[in-house]
């Protein structure tokens, strides 16, 4: 299975920059299916999953943004209380440490989706194959 490409965009903490990113992406007819922001007092990093990561990265760069593309994995989580906790537990038991995670805006027919950033995505996929974890393919994710 291939990895899901996540875009990370650098923004200064000043008003309007997040909406500039969203407009830039939107104008290129690109859909955002998941988004999270990490910030300090001075700057932030906007991470997102879009349906066409390559095109999104290039329009953002053309508009002067600094963009980094990172491999992440997506998991389906049963939409019931404790569903997410159970999946996190499985990853922990498999020896995979999570750097951060965030949820999708929509759902797939397999349940709720979360994006998980792990240190070594390649190894994670290998390890999780044997587990009862539902990894979601990039094709499915980009279709959302």
């Amino acid at each position: 299975m291939q990895f899901i490409k996540q875009l990370s965009v650098f923004v200064e903490n000043k008003s309007g920059r997040l909406s500039d990113i969203l407009t830039t992406v939107g104008n290129a007819d690109i859909d955002i299916s998941a988004l999270s922001i990490a910030d300090t007092t001075d700057f932030g990093i906007v991470r997102m999953i879009v349906n066409n990561p390559e095109q999104a990265a290039s329009v953002l760069r053309e508009n002067g943004f600094v963009v980094k593309v990172t491999d992440v994995i997506a998991l389906a989580v049963a939409d019931i209380p404790g569903g997410l906790a159970k999946e996190v537990e499985k990853l922990k038991n498999a020896g995979i440490s999570i750097e951060y995670m965030y949820a999708f805006i929509g759902k797939s027919d397999k349940g709720a989706l979360v994006i998980v950033r792990v240190e070594d995505p390649e190894k994670a996929i290998e390890v999780l194959k044997g587990e009862s974890v539902t990894l979601v393919s990039p094709e499915e994710v980009y279709r959302l």
């Binding site: 990370s8 200064e12 001075d42 700057f43 990093i45 943004f65 600094v66 980094k68 990172t70």
Partner: protein, 435 residues
């Protein structure tokens, strides 16, 4: 390593000072008689050529600045009649306003000696093949290095700058042993040669690089990529061109051609002459120039003169690589800060490219503030905010250890930093100290 003129290069200091005084007295008299600007300035200060009785008396003479060269453009500072001028060089500098220098036949002769000393110090002689990849033209680099190479009797290859592949082909086919060019072009040649995989076909032994500031790191990179020893040469059009001072194999500062150029170190603010070993502005007085002699020319380069005898046997004083320029120097909380120091810190952060940056100096509650804005680049960016914050912290701590000063570092989006005429404005000083 060889010496081109050992009788001068290893002359006892007392002998050298005798020669310098003789020449200085003659030069001052010549200038007083032939250049109206100098004569009027000396008269105004009440100094006559006869007042120069010792070398120290040079302090009685007025200074000359780059602005003078602009104000008296093109010929007013020339001492020789136009019929005796055989060459013109020019330099534009960063402000774009041109200055010119005129050379007599004898001036070119002396200049060739300067460069020949450099080439000999880099192991060159009549058996060498010297490729000159400095630009030929108004710029002193090309013709200056060329004159020295021919003077020493080397096979001189005047490739000038540009057309890198042809440069490399000629370098291989003609067996160049010495390369003269700017350090940045040497870096580029090194990269290209390694990409082409032809390093083992080179006969290069040494390179002589100057005309722009470069760091010890760049020296190591050039030496590594070209498999040579890299020598630093110093010069300026106002004084003559490359070869005013030159490096020996010890690589511990550049020997000044003191028989032709008398150096002083002054305090740039008070204009007082500082004792040997002090850090300050380098000032040159020409001792033999005929075309355009210079009296106490303020180079704006800040450095130290080292009068200790060099291991190479030369007695000529060594100037340390200029640490910066008076125009660039900022005094922040009493500490001298050069943008180049900040640039070097940043160069070590995001891989091989220096990020675009801007230095903003301000004053709050009677204390100077220093903020360094650094444009974000892909090599510094990560999806993990902690590692980006860590870069910021690392820059702060490196700046503190390099400058001895606390700075606020702010990562900014690209193109935030104002550029004028394609060149980034590096320093914004918001202090209004003279109001």
């Amino acid at each position: 390593m060889g010496m081109y003129q050992p009788e001068i290069e290893t002359m006892e200091r007392s002998e050298l000072e005798k020669l310098q005084l003789e020449r200085l007295q003659k030069q001052v008299k010549y200038v007083y008689e032939n250049v109206k600007v100098y004569r009027e300035r000396m008269d105004k200060k009440g100094v006559k050529p006869e007042d120069i009785k010792t070398l120290k008396d040079i302090a009685k003479l007025p200074f000359t600045t780059k602005q003078d060269l602009r104000d008296y453009y093109p010929f007013e500072l020339f001492a020789a009649p136009k019929k005796d001028i055989v060459r013109i060089h020019a330099s534009s500098g960063t402000t774009g306003r041109q200055i010119v220098a005129g050379y007599t036949r004898n001036d070119l002769d002396m200049w060739a000696d300067c460069m020949a000393r450099q080439i000999a110090a880099a192991g060159g002689d009549e058996n060498s093949v010297v490729q000159v990849s400095y630009g030929y033209g108004l710029f002193t680099g090309g013709l200056g290095a060329h004159g020295g190479a021919e003077r020493i009797g080397a096979m001189t290859v005047p490739t000038s700058s540009g057309n890198t592949e042809r440069q490399i082909r000629l370098m291989i086919e003609l067996g160049a042993t010495h390369l003269c060019c700017t350090p940045s072009y040497a870096m580029y040649l090194g990269e290209t040669i390694n990409e082409m995989g032809v390093k083992d076909q080179l006969s290069l032994k040494a390179g002589i690089f100057g005309a722009e500031p470069w760091t010890e790191d760049m020296r190591h990179q050039i030496e590594e990529s070209l498999g040579i020893k890299a020598y630093d040469v110093y010069g300026l059009t106002e004084i003559t061109g490359p070869g005013v001072s030159y490096e020996c194999h010890v690589q511990g500062g550049m020997h000044v051609c003191e028989d032709m150029f008398l150096p002083e170190i002054i305090d740039p603010d008070t204009e007082e002459v500082l004792p040997p070993g002090s850090f300050g502005e380098l000032v040159f007085t020409t001792l033999t120039k005929e075309g355009m002699p210079m009296m106490r020319y303020r180079t704006r380069d800040l450095c130290v003169l080292d009068y200790e005898k060099c291991e190479c046997g030369r007695t000529l004083v060594r100037m340390k690589k200029p640490a910066g320029r008076t125009d660039d120097m900022l005094i922040i909380r009493g500490v001298n800060v050069f943008p180049s120091q900040i640039e070097e810190v940043l160069l070590k952060m995001g891989g091989d490219i220096t990020p675009n940056y801007q230095i903003i100096v301000g004053r709050e509650n009677n204390t100077d503030t220093l903020e360094v804005q650094v444009e974000m680049s892909e090599s510094m960016l990560s999806d993990d905010i902690k590692s980006v914050a860590a870069i910021e912290k690392k820059i702060v701590s490196k700046l503190r250890s390099t400058l001895g000063l606390g700075a606020v570092v702010k990562l900014v989006e690209p193109k935030t930093i104002t550029r004028s005429e394609g060149k980034a404005k590096r320093v914004i000083d918001n202090r209004k100290l003279h109001d």
